[in-house]
Structure formats: C-alpha cells, structure tokens
Amino acid sequence: MDAVRLQIEDFSQDAEVLALKASSKCMGGIATFIGCARDYSEGREVSEISFEAYERMALPELQKLRAEAIARFGLLDARIVHRLATVRAGDNIVFIATGAEHRAPALHACEWIIDELKSRVPIWKKEVTPAGDSWVTPHP
C-alpha cells in the first residue's frame, strides 16, 4: 500500500496507521487528520460532493508534500490518501497520518500538510445541491 495515493475507494485508518507504524519502533506520537463530507456548506444543503484531479500533477505534488513534511518536522513517516469519488455526508475525503518520536512534530506536521494540500494540489471539488451543481471556489 503506497504511502501516497489518489483513489476512488474508502480507506481504513487502522490499516494506514499499521503501515505507518511499520516504518519505525521509535514512533511515540501519531497524528491523523480526516476530512469528511458535510451535509451543509455555507448555508446550502449538499447532497453529494465529487472530486476531480489532474492526476499527473497531483500525485507527484502529494509525494513532494510528504517528503517536505518529513524533512521539515523530522517525521519518521507520513501517509496521504485523497479520494477521487462522489461522496455523501459523513463519507471520508482525505486522510493524513504523521508519525514522529514525540507528539508535537506529528501534530504540527499533520496540520501543515492539510493546509498545504489545499493550496498546492490540483484537485477540485463540486458540490451537488438540490438547487444544482457548483464547483467550489476557495476563498482568496
């Protein structure tokens, strides 16, 4: 199971954390972040969210992001999975796991990765609402 993946299917946190841990016996702290679909977005009811990526660019960018986080925070390992699927409220969208000897770098790296992912990785989100579809335009 690759440490960085774009996939349609859902992921298991247990399986991801097991794979993360396999890289070191010195891992004292593991932080994860899971982004999920909500049933409301800026006041509008959302039935589904679908994702599209420029995979040729998105996958290498995610791999670069992982390597940068490992170097920047002195992580023992990190994993990033982003789904490219149509999801409903409560479904998983993105998973990040970071492991370090101590808790602070793991927690801070996890936040850094999700922030960077949102601004650097060519993936787009479309919200399907009872009033129609619309691509999400992030705030400047």
Binding site: G35, Y54, R56, L117, I123, W124, T137, P138
Partner: protein
C-alpha cells in the same frame, strides 16, 4: 499536436475537458492562451495556474515542443 487540458470549474466554463492544437515552429504558451482567449474570452478570469507536462509555469513566453501537455487550472479546492 499540443494537448490542452481543462479541469473542474475551467472545463465546465469551456464545456470541454480536452482540446488538441497544431504545434507550429516557435510556438509559445502565449500563442495557446491567445487562441483560447479568442474563442472563450471569459475563460482566463478563473484560471489561476498553468502547467506544462505536469509542472507549473509562470512565464507565458515558455516555448512549446510538439506533444506538450498544457493544463489550465482554477484555484484548487481539494481536501
């Protein structure tokens, strides 16, 4: 040929995901942009990033080789 790709909000506005353009000697990214602007004048309002062969480029004078893949992209909204 030059392969031109559009994603998400950009493909929605242009009503297509992919175009092919004939490559000509001395062609630059700006030439592709000019051709698109002629047909889709509002398109570039929402384009925030351009990549050639999967690598982001900022210089519109970048020369293009035959078979290059150009992607026109709106602001990302993954995660």
């Amino acid at each position: 040929m030059i392969k031109v790709l559009f994603f998400g909000p950009v493909s929605e506005r242009i009503q297509t995901r992919e175009l092919a353009m004939i490559h000509t000697a001395g062609m630059s990214l700006q030439d592709v942009i000019n051709q698109l602007n002629e047909h889709y004048p509002q398109l570039f309002d929402i384009i925030s990033f351009i990549a050639i062969n999967g690598v982001q480029v900022r210089d519109r004078q970048t020369p293009l080789a035959d078979n290059d893949e150009i992607a026109f992209m709106a602001k990302f909204s993954g995660g």
